[in-house]
């Protein structure tokens, strides 16, 4: 499912809203989540999962083409941990042979 398919599915569930409104709602929600993470805030969605940042220490990397050493700064990367409901539903789908 892509973002535009998600928008279509949500538009079907929210017939009182225009597709434009649903599109803007999805953009607003994703921007809000991006904004939270980039200011170091966690996201906790019960039943779905949580997003947090993981620290990556500075390291010396290599340019794979030239073999030259490159100093890489410390950074943070987004991390998602699925919640219990999501974990169980996804695992059940395998047991049901889908």
């Amino acid at each position: 499912m892509t973002k535009s398919e998600l928008i279509e599915r949500l538009a079907m569930r929210h017939e009182d809203l225009s597709v434009k409104d649903v599109e803007l709602a999805v953009k607003t929600m994703l921007d809000h989540m991006t904004e939270a993470l980039s200011s170091g805030e966690r996201i906790e969605i019960r039943g779905f999962g949580s997003f947090s940042l993981h620290y990556r220490a500075p390291r010396v990397g290599r340019n794979p083409k030239t073999g030259q050493a490159v100093e890489l700064d410390a950074k943070y990367v987004p991390h998602f941990k699925p919640g219990k409901d999501l974990r169980e539903q996804v695992n059940d789908s395998m047991k049901q042979g889908r």
Binding site: K3, T28, M29, H32, R46, P78, Q89, V90
Partner: protein, 101 residues
Amino acid sequence: MGSLTKAEMAERLFEVLGLNKREAKDMVESFFDEVRSCLASNEQVKLSGFGNFDLRDKRQRPGRNPKTGEEVPISARRVVTFRPGQKLKDKVETYAGPGEE
């Protein structure tokens, strides 16, 4: 700092889009619900700019009960992994850390 929750996301939809509180809450609910049910039917979810939710089937592997040291097999399972998109990675990378307040 607190965490971002569904309630705050609904509040933002109320402010930005002028959805009423009920519509805003329903929209946030159904957003996560659609993503979840898609993954539960073994379909990948790609939200460009934000990231992809992928599914991986893992084979059974040997494990151990860390308390007793007893060998217990970890059963075959399907798991969700999240691969952040470039835009999200770039924005998060510049976060300077908690720092000294």
